[in-house]
Amino acid sequence: MPSRRTRENLLTYMVVGPFAIVLAFPFYWMLWTALKTEGDLYNTKNNPFGFTQGSPTLANVRFLFEQTDYLRWLGNTALVGATVVIFTLLVSLPAGYALARLSGRWGQSLGVGIFLVYLVPPTLLFLPLSRLIAELGLQDSLWSLILVYPSFTIPFATWLLMGFFKSIPRELEDAALVDGASRVRSLLHVVFPISLPGILTVVIFSFSLCANEFVYALAFITNSSSKTISTGIYTELIRGDVFFWGALMAATLIPSIPLALLYNTFLDRFIAGFTGGAFR
């Protein structure tokens, strides 16, 4: 008779295993497709789970990097993401701290209010914003995205940071204040260093929100050289009825894996921020 623990583990694998297989299958399929030659891919007689006719090959990846603007899109995504994240931190760090510590009961309602702003979707805002971007002459410029993306990263980051700051014991800060440090000084030297893991979490999740964004990127940018991965791959690698499936799948897989690794690494922190008083 197996022990209780072994039985529990077995049950865990029996439940989590199938979920993992179903959820990860599309990525496995992207990898397989990315490694195939056109001949192999478009022969319906071939078993799609195996390789023949010159597969596996890296030709699709080479095509992606050498004959498309893929690197450019990756670069644009990184540039937009990094700029937006820096700006978001500059605005959200003080705001999150103020909501967690300084403003008492109306801070609570304001916190919920800011969370609600995060739920105002791009779908509601892209029409007026696309006009605004046109008026400013920012169409086809990465600046349009840099200007607009903080509209969702700031509410999200402020709210999450508020959760992190609430979980820091107040005594630590009070100690610094009693020792004669000013509040701003204690912020910079005590509070922010302890919250570094939380801040990093916010950086990662804000960045991935930017990399994820689709509607604004589609509405504001039409020239290939200013596209981000989110729209570039779909609009440039599918030409009419011609789908470069191998390259498409490689292009999809390449940013997804590192993002998922980062998510997994910082997940416990993210969870802590979520439960750290954000809803109480």
Binding site: N9, V15, V16, G17, F19, I21, V22, L23, P26, F27, W29, T44, P48, V91, S92, P94, A95, A98, L99, L102, S103, V112, V117, L119, V120, P121, P122, T123, L124, F126, L127, P128, L129, R131, L132, S151, I154, P155, T158, G180, R183, N212, F214, V215, L218, I229, S230, F243, W245, T252, S256, L259, A260, Y263, N264, L267, I271, F274, T275, F279
Partner: protein
């Protein structure tokens, strides 16, 4: 020395109290100003546009009252879009809630290989949605669909007339629902884990002392405590599915024959594609009262069921 050091300290304390009153608003104001400018103002502009006949190229138009709203309401495409948005949201979130609560219960325990399994489970959420949807475009391909290949080799479907996942209205609805559920399940799971993690260990201990185990404990202790945060997971799920455009845009563009149209997609096609800013804004705004109502109800519910 004592008194000399004591005086400025007290003074500093008082400065601090002064500071607190100003520091809070000072720290908050950049965020609030930005939100008002980039969310509040466009929202207002969107409401204004919806009441005019503005077209692309200008920001103004003649005031036509609620005409955009009424003419959309009688448009069959809008009706389909409205219905589909609700259907996708409800179906996908039903799957998400059930799946996520099951997964979270198991993922909260330590076990060997957890890191790797969790990585696999997080993939759909981490991958940019537009990209992973392209993956599904290939999985549901009319000729080379892997789903159909498997079904054919199991002799479950007709070899010469396999299901057209994105070409048949009903199947396309199922395909889109699947992608939504697939994409948001990991996120809901993470929020559910956060909910379970916040249950104090004393509660579990007390339950054990009282003799509550297994299903009994799940029903009377864990689920009630998990309910508030589960509500938040559903709230996110509803907002993300109801307002998403990427999945529908990439998989079907609202087709075949507008049968998979959703409100965001229809607003985009009307506002950007056909250039009817006013009508597009009106379509998007139909979402707002519904979402606001859902959000308020769920937050109130979350607060009410909070046991602590």
């Amino acid at each position: 020395m004592e008194t000399a050091a004591g005086y400025p300290r007290r003074k500093r304390r008082r400065d601090l109290l002064e500071q607190r009153r100003f520091l809070g608003p000072a720290l908050l104001s950049p965020a609030i100003i930005f939100i008002v400018l980039l969310v509040g103002a466009p929202l207002g502009l969107s409401i204004y546009l919806s009441l005019t006949d503005a077209t692309a190229g200008s920001l103004t138009g003649d005031f036509i009252g609620l005409d955009n709203f009424t003419s959309q309401w009688s448009d069959p495409n809008f009706r389909t879009a409205f219905r589909n948005t609700i259907v996708f949201t409800l179906l996908a979130n039903a799957i998400i809630v059930v799946g996520a609560s099951i997964l979270a219960h198991f993922l909260i325990r330590p076990f060997r290989g957890k890191w790797f399994l969790r990585f696999l489970i997080l993939l759909p959420w981490a991958a940019p949605v537009a990209l992973s949807t392209i993956g599904f475009l290939w999985i549901f391909d009319s000729l080379f669909s892997v789903v159909n290949w498997v079904l054919k080799s199991l002799s479950l479907v007709d070899t010469f007339n396999p299901p057209q996942w994105l070409g048949d209205p009903t199947l396309a609805l199922a395909a889109i629902t699947t992608v939504h559920a697939w994409r948001l399940l990991p996120f809901a799971t993470v929020i559910m884990i956060a909910g379970l993690a916040s249950i104090p260990t004393e509660v579990n201990d007390a339950a054990r002392v009282d003799g509550a185990t297994g299903l009994k404990k799940l029903w009377y202790v864990t689920l009630p405590l998990q309910l508030p945060i589960a509500t938040i997971a559903v709230l996110f799920g509803i907002v993300f599915t109801a307002t998403d455009m990427a999945v529908v845009y990439i998989l079907t563009r609202g087709g075949p024959f507008n049968s998979t149209q959703t409100l965001p997609m229809w607003a985009f096609q009307t506002g950007i594609g056909s250039g009817s800013l006013g009508a597009g804004a009106a379509i998007a705004l139909y979402l707002l009262p519904v979402l606001a109502l859902v959000t308020v109800l769920m937050l109130v519910f979350a607060r009410r069921v909070e046991v602590t």
